[in-house]
Symmetry: C2
Subunit: 747 residues, 2 copies
């Protein structure tokens, strides 16, 4: 009772610490990226201003290339050193929360590589975002901090071993991921829904509340320091977060009625959503082919090729941005400062770029290309001045292809912000198009840019609930709920006609057995026995050390069913171990148990023979590979001639010492003379896992498996005999669809 | 495949319709309440203005009394006619979503009584809210609309019978409840989280998305009509919802730094949360005693007493409000109109009441008492002018006790808005106190009022996640996230030291077996066999009609396990029915099955005798009472002398015709001569429900039961024998704590 209380308090403290640290990591990424960008743009700005007069713009381009290539080399080297740090990290988190272990994904080393690498990939002018890596960083903090130990730094190793179960760890990781979203977008509710959408199976109120707390801690600790550093107003929590879409206000001087959107606009939004979904699908298809190409042709070669690709991308991106801004950008008049002081508006006025233009004019293309992406998005959302339609179209096309090429290059690279920027250009283009071609006058271009951004992002990633909420929270405008939701719905629907979301594509490319939310509709009526694996590797309650070692060495299974032979003369064999109270009415069966024990000895304690002889096996429970390895490591066996077998000698603490990386069976030093000794697993097995019948429908199996977060599910018939086992692999859509195909061919 | 698609489209259409209708009901309630209130206050206003001069204020009071009593009589009569319509309805929805059927809760009749009654209870000046009833209305619409039939109006009865399962119905109800919250508070995300928090067990992405869509549909259809009717700007979606907390803006003319709250305030908020929790606990304790008293002394008596109580409450409330406004209110100067046009501010200026005061002055107490509660809340949030500390204190105390008395009187009565108003007065009082007593100058009183409102509401209802989000959405200010969350957390924690939330108290008073989120920590390590019910009522695959009728007449169980006798000479008895493919290796057992059939006949087909003889029972599956009744109703039996028993004669459509109200066994006309005939339930039973072992821990049982949304869970041992059954009653905290108590006494 008392220790439960203590554990709960510790849990809350940990949750706060995870949120706080995630906020700090996000803050550090943001500040350093700003610093690096300012340094770069400062130098290049000066050079351009001077060279515009002197005609030495090639030198400015060289400066820019030098900066960007140098930055990208740093990012690429870090990623090549720790490959898991590449990409956005969201596919990996999705897999982790789904219950799949990906090696090295949650190490301190990965955190360092990712959070340093992302600084340089973003500052290096690549079309990548820093939000995905922030979310990944949050997840790593969530996974590592409560363990109070580190694999990378062996010295960090406390003797306190709390929260060392997969479930605890996963709970903290979902908190960390939520905190990452919260910090990156200033969207605590969106963060919670993100981790629910990607990871949860069982709706757990306490966990959700803790995740929410973690998100809030991240948002507001970030906010506290941000307001302190940026506006020197410590303790006032001014700034709304790292991504600030600004305040959407309709310009009442322009249109008669002042409104953000109207019922008529909704129809246009639906069409925009449809097109956005299609554009997203094209993006995904292109990126998939490119990734396949990379997997086959680039990755197997020497590491230097990956570095060279990153450098190539950096150089092409820089050159295209520079040249197109110089030659294709249009000079537009800077609009007069509006009379009402509005912080969003004025900050937008200050960030236009006047490269290659006269005084009082700005270059629209340069404004988009030579600003950090967040500022470019804000320009598209709020710039009262106009962008020209050709500039927007060219920008969209260039950005689209370059971003598509970049995602997958071995640098840490988020996808959210580039997609938003690309989509905002598309939306703004539509607004201009409607205004100039159709003379549709009541357009508020900011809303169109936002809707375009949502449509394209939705088309690429195909998230729905969490994305809607994240965008609502980032705009801090609840009345955008309906348009954003409609657009995301339509974009997901139209995109799904062609292919999957980009994260899912990358997960599939890695052939990870991800579990979807529901089984395929055709499979729902199949039976468990049609999909279970009946080639079983089982152990007996008493097994010889030698055969146990042989079993562990020859199979990679993580769990083994424990069975006894259900012989006709003794059909009521039950296991009576110390972990199980002897049931009064089952006392008679103890004799059978002893017989059983002898029968094992006859068969050399090798359960495989039982299978070969095709005898029915009574299901007794499940034992984990890690438990067997720990038992062997602790020499928990006994000789047959000893009177009383030494039971229950391995304590719970000894079982979790090695969590989460248990020793390999080949690394264990086991004296060969002990091969004939017996190991009694009866005291350690789990006698009552969830089970299903062979005739249970796949739909029921699926929901049990997903809802209870299982890794393996024994199939036991009405008679209590083990018939097979269902693992994650038997429930993937790929496997189920194959089974349906087989069944249809049979008929 | 094709019909799945059609069903899904129909589901979405239904979801939209539910959202739309819920929005319309909310709109109608809001408009009519406004109309009635305007009528009442218009008449009374005129009279007060005149009588302040002439000194005939008693007549004004009589006018007010007349209106209020008349209105309350209407509300009370409707509630007495349909008692389920009383109260807020949220406890009932909570029960429904938890899986408990409460009679009459989801009828059209209840909807009418509730939605008409609430108009009059709110307009009648009682301290009740209209939000709870709106949520209840949404839930009724969600439950009734997809059925396309009505019990109340027999004529509404379509031949389309979709969605007639408990799961489908519950999904729609959670959508409707979410829509109700969304419409009432303009909080679509909060609505989704409300229905997740109260009802969900399994996190289902598709369902959540549909619920979200339903919320959005409600919010924006309400908004569409509201903007059209109120501002005559159809199609522009201006107004933020029914409850509008206005825009929180700090008055930069007053303090140097302009901020809503700072880090220092957070500490004060924590203390306010603690006190709010305690105040809420007192409120709950008082209301609980009062409700108990009512249950014992008022409800069993004639209906007229309930009507009289309602009238008494109305009269006392009216008189106290009038007299205290007249004698205790202070006249304060109306502040000058601020220069910047701000719609929130100006609407606040317009709703002050100048009763009993000179020109240019207003009566602070009258402003709070003689306005609809939403406007009074806005006054407390945004009124730049001051309320005096004594006025606030008196208002809080009077309102606290009157609201406590009112909740439970038989009128439709919400709890949200009264609690918010009460709490806002408390918060505003604290702000004044800090400013005047401690000289703490940087107080923004609006924030304090909001925090106070959150603290008190949190202390009363103890919701956390959804309430936080609802309040954030209603204020449309994301930066209030942290203070609101902190305050709700602390308030819940401090309130939980004393008692439960008010909704839970009322649920407990009705002794409904609600399932919590987790089992009590001490019970988690108990075994299933310790809590299961082993006094079983079972049926055989073939049972005589007579004994089936006897069983149905003597027990109220909703489900019966189907068993066969596991005799030693034939331990492998299995059931081979048409619903189950004959397994190849089990073909040998068919003979046993026939034996089994004969053995039933020996024992008069009465399985009770099996139990009495204490024979082991092999578990074959589960059959519902409704299925047995339908079988009997359709005369699905056969005579023994007929060669081939007529199997599978009752189709799925026939099973759902009577959903959800199946005929009573006493209403069935069964020819007595058929008593000896046999019913074959083998084809209809569910052969593969989820089961657990007797040694499974209660924690596992609980999560399976809650997560999979079960109503009953057979306990089957490793040998395949039925040992007992676990129902909702065996998993309530009350039952589990009793079992723990028993166990402790034994040791």
């Amino acid at each position: 009772q008392h220790s439960d209380r203590k554990l709960e308090i510790l849990q809350w403290i940990m949750t706060f610490a995870i949120g706080f640290l995630t906020g700090m990591v996000a803050l550090y990424i943001d500040l350093i990226v700003k610093l690096l960008s300012d340094w770069k743009f400062g130098t290049v700005d000066k050079s351009i201003l001077q060279c515009s007069k002197d005609g030495c713009l090639v030198i400015s381009l060289l400066y820019l290339l030098l900066f960007n290539v140098a930055f990208v080399i740093v990012a690429a080297c870090l990623t090549i050193y720790e490959p898991v740090a590449g990409g956005s990290g969201i596919p990996e988190i999705k897999c982790y929360l789904n219950g799949i272990k990906i090696p090295r994904i949650a190490r301190l080393q990965t955190l360092v590589a990712k959070s340093v690498g992302v600084l340089f990939s973003v500052a290096g002018g690549l079309f990548v975002g820093k939000e995905g890596p922030m979310i990944h960083s949050g997840a790593i903090i969530g996974s590592g901090l409560p363990q109070l130990q580190s694999i990378t730094l062996k010295k960090i190793n406390s003797k306190y071993s709390y929260f060392r179960t997969d479930r605890d760890k996963r709970d903290f990781v979902s908190g960390g991921a939520a905190a990452g979203v919260a910090a990156a977008f200033g969207a605590p509710i969106g963060g919670v829904l993100f981790s629910l959408e990607e990871g949860s199976s069982f709706w757990n109120q306490k966990l959700t509340w803790r995740t929410f707390f973690c998100s809030m801690a991240a948002t507001f600790s970030l906010n506290f320091f941000l307001s302190g550093i940026d506006s020197n107003s410590w303790g006032y929590f001014y700034l709304p977060g790292l991504i600030d879409f600004g305040t959407f206000e309709c310009q009442s001087e322009k249109t008669t009625g002042c409104h953000l959107w109207s019922a008529v606009d909704l129809f246009i939004f639906v069409i925009m959503g449809f097109i956005g979904g299609c554009l997203g699908a094209i993006f995904n298809t292109l990126n998939k082919s490119l990734s396949l190409h990379r997997m086959i042709n680039v990755n197997p070669k020497h590491k230097i090729f990956r570095l060279l690709e990153a450098i190539l991308v950096a150089m092409v991106t820089t050159t295209i941005a520079f040249v197109s801004a110089m030659t294709l950008g249009q000079c537009r008049k800077i609009p007069l400062k509006p009379s009402i002081i509005n912080s969003t508006r004025s900050s937008v006025e200050l960030t236009v770029r006047d490269y290659f233009c006269e005084d009082g004019y700005y270059n629209d293309m340069a404004t988009l290309f030579f600003n950090p992406q967040e500022i470019a998005i804000k320009q598209l959302f709020h710039q009262a001045g106009t962008f020209s339609m050709p500039s927007l179209a060219i920008f969209f096309i260039l950005f689209f292809f370059l971003a598509c090429w970049t995602y997958g290059v071995s640098v840490p690279s988020g996808l959210f912000v580039p997609s938003l920027l690309c989509g905002a250009a598309y939306g703004r283009f539509v607004a201009l198009f409607l205004e100039q071609v159709f003379g549709y006058k009541t357009v508020y271009s900011g809303t169109y840019a936002l809707v375009g951004a949502a449509a394209f992002l939705g088309g690429v990633v195909r998230m729905t609930i969490s994305l809607t909420v994240i965008l609502i929270e980032s705009t801090n405008e609840i009345s955008y709920g309906l348009p954003i939701m409609l657009v995301l719905m339509v974009a997901k629907w139209s995109g799904d006609l062609f292919n999957e979301g980009l994260y899912d594509i990358h997960i599939n490319l890695k052939s990870v057995p991800l579990l979807e939310w529901d089984p395929p509709t055709e499979a729902a009526r199949m039976k468990a026995k049609a999909i279970m694996d009946s080639r079983l590797k089982v152990v007996f309650p008493q097994t010889r050390v030698a055969s146990l070692i042989r079993l562990l060495k020859t199979t990679a299974h993580n769990v083994f069913p424990v069975v006894t032979a259900a012989r006709d003369d003794c059909s009521a064999v039950t296991l009576v171990g110390p972990s199980q109270e002897a049931d009064l009415q089952e006392q008679d069966d103890v004799e059978c148990f002893v017989n059983q024990n002898n029968s094992n000895q006859d068969g050399d304690g090798n359960p495989i023979e039982l299978l070969q002889r095709n005898l029915p096996m009574k299901f007794e429970g499940m034992i984990l590979r890690s438990q067997l390895v720990t038992l062997l490591k602790n020499h928990a066996w006994y000789k047959e001639n000893v009177e009383e077998p030494p039971r229950d000698t391995v304590s719970y603490e000894e079982f979790i010492t090695d969590y989460p990386r248990y020793p390999d069976i080949y690394d264990l030093q086991i004296p060969t003379l002990d091969g004939e000794a017996l190991v009694d697993v009866g005291a350690y097995l789990n006698p009552c896992p969830y089970t299903v019948y062979p005739e249970t429908t796949v739909s029921q199996v699926f929901h049990l498996f997903r809802g209870m977060g299982l890794r393996h599910l024994p199939v036991v018939c009405h008679k209590g005999e083990l018939k097979g086992i269902i693992t994650r692999h038997n429930l993937t859509h790929e496997f189920l669809e194959e089974k349906i195909h087989e069944q249809n061919q049979e008929h």
